[in-house]
Amino acid sequence: MKKIKLLLFSIFGSVFIFGSILANAVEIEYWQYTYKARVEAIDKLIANFEKANPGITIKHTNFPYADYRKKVAIAISSGDGPDLVQLYYGWLNDYRDSGLIQPLPKDAFSHDEIESNFFKMVSSMKVDGEYWGLPTAVRSLALFYNNDLLKEAGLSGPPETLDDLVDYAKKLTKRDGSGNMIQEGLAFDGGIGQTHHFWREVLVRHYGGQPYSDDGQKIAYNNDAGVKALTYLTDFEKTHKTTSNGFMNRGQDGFAAGKVGLYIDGSFRISKFVKAEGLNFSISELPGHNGTRYNFSSFWANALSSKAKGEKKEAAAKFLAYLTSDEAMQVWLDTVGELPAKPSVALVDENKQHELYGPFIRGLDYATATTFISEKPQRQSVVDAYDMVVLQGVSPKDAIEKVAKKEQELLDDFFGN
């Protein structure tokens, strides 16, 4: 009997001791999608963080982008999944609405500090008086151009205005004897890729409009500005015939193959083009119009999942603070090529004048991040408007009216109007 008591005692004792060791080491989970450079960057940041905070370990999980949103939703709702999760800023409303994430604690992330330290588009993470996430890095658009092709066409320097862009695109387009395109002047993928952003945040604004009302609840592009912007965009394929959707598969593939003169995309595309053999390219800021410039910015934010509670939440908040520190932002720029989310890090001369990142970083100054409720169907309305004009011969005015009505229904549905 005594022996049994002793045995039980020692078992309980060791369980207790073991348990208290475990309790001291908090393990939190961090989720993002698989992209080699991002995975490397996060691994690097985790190593730095764990060294400075011995009590916290971080499990880094990543999986393909295609399943990302689904897996996150299912895992968190079943009580599993990440404590800290990366999400595209355009999904914020969707994630918030589904109860997947929680507001950032105000004591650790003061609103005044966020607002004075981060670029202004980060304010799109503020809803109902709370911040729901913060980015390490932001993105913007710029114009990639093929130096060899420009030189061959007798052009020097990048196009500076929207009119220049048309002119350049015309001069850079080549066709064979039977009229088949063999070199594309300006490539974009008919609304897919970054084109819909370019239309919404750059072209619509250049023509004096804005894509959505300030509260994001109403379509604001269904007017003259939207029609002019769509006309400008579709004219490349329809009238100027400098663009052919699907040429060389996608714009980025055609540009990488040296068969495209001009191409608009984000800084994350640099790494692809740097690796393309024989491609001699440069980057410039997006062309302006009437002396102003606009740009679109987007970002992936880090947010606390609704699953993180107690000490895990504290540890997750601590890691989030590190992820949004100046040091982490520089690591991210050097590893991933995405731009720092704070002007204090981004707008240093060395970054601003950088041959490749410079134009993107300068673009951040006048960039807007669209407030999406759900990016995919909203992108589809630009794709559809484009196809109506180019493939069906619908007038830009009718096309805008049609997609605006459908998209407004989507917004109404979301906001419960």
Partner: protein, 300 residues
């Protein structure tokens, strides 16, 4: 107790129990993996549900919205077009191939294998290869061939008129192998004596085809019609892989019902609406299957 019970049973009873024990496995499988989700789909189709929150009963609202949705009718018509055009074309080709393939001896197996390979290939991989075939010059294979013979470039997947047929082509092609094998088996099952009797009576090839082979193949044909109709009504992989952004475009020109269901369920998480669409698809497939049963009965 159990031992006593077992020993008191007659042999027939024991056999029955044993049989049911084995049958229980597929029954449990079907009930939990097939029937229960089907029932759930009906149930969810009356609910508003985003996968995470609580389900909220809203009656027939989803159905009313679906029937008032212009896109739904386009998508339904696309789905029917896939079946209505795809099935006759694929059966005509596969029967012709099977008929002539049956007559040759040299290389019969090899040719049959060639036709069967696409059936074994992953639909996604095949669809992507075809997607490249359809590209404009200078990389699209079909357009390069067209330009050799002096025919202007065709937009294929980038055309509202041509896209559906361009997507249908690999689907037809992939199904051929299976249909050919079934047709050959059907032709070979016809008793030799019928052909001999016909020859003695002086029937020509066309007459033999019309009077003997086609009537004898009726059950085979009905079977293939039903299987491939259901296949085409459920078309998904090809459209998902071949349309830009997997959106069933341009302008919904290639979108079938299943892709619409997928989008509602997994792009915007309207599970209720997706379930209602699933119920509609289910009823469509049920109707097709019942019509088949009715035809088969009439046969006898």
């Amino acid at each position: 107790m159990i031992k006593n019970f077992w020993e008191n049973l007659s042999i027939n009873q024991k056999l029955a129990i044993t049989a049911w024990v084995f049958l229980a496995i597929p029954i449990i499988f079907y009930v939990t993996i097939r029937f229960y989700p089907t029932y759930e789909a009906f149930y969810v189709s009356f609910m508003k549900w985003n996968l995470l929150g609580a389900k909220k009963y809203i009656g027939f609202k989803h159905y009313i919205r679906i029937f008032n949705d212009e896109d739904f009718w386009i998508v339904l018509w696309n789905t029917i077009k896939y079946a209505l055009i795809g099935v006759p074309i694929s059966l005509l080709i596969s029967f012709t191939v099977a008929y002539y393939l049956n007559e040759i001896k040299f290389g019969h197996q090899t040719i049959r294998a060639f036709y069967f390979v696409p059936f074994l290939t992953t639909a996604i991989a095949m669809a992507w290869v075809w997607r490249w075939f359809y590209q404009p010059m200078p990389i699209g294979y079909f357009n390069i061939m067209l330009s050799y013979v002096g025919i202007p470039q065709q937009p294929f997947l980038r055309s509202i008129e041509q896209a559906l047929y361009s997507v249908m082509a690999p689907a037809v092609w992939a199904g051929l192998g299976f249909q050919i094998v079934i047709f050959i088996a059907g032709i070979r099952a016809i008793p030799k004596s019928h052909f001999e009797a016909a020859e003695i009576d002086g029937a020509g090839r066309l007459q033999i085809l019309k009077e003997i082979i086609l009537p004898a193949l009726k059950p085979t044909t009905i079977f293939l019609v039903v299987i491939s109709t259901i296949g085409f009504l459920r078309i998904f992989d090809q459209v998902y892989s071949m349309s830009e952004d997997s959106a069933g475009g341009p302008l919904n020109a290639t979108k079938p019902l299943v892709l619409m269901i997928y989008e509602y369920a997994f792009d915007i998480y309207k599970l209720g609406r997706a379930s209602a669409l699933t119920v509609i698809l289910f009823l469509l497939l049920l109707t097709v299957s019942l019509l088949q049963l009715w035809f088969m009965r009439k046969q006898k």
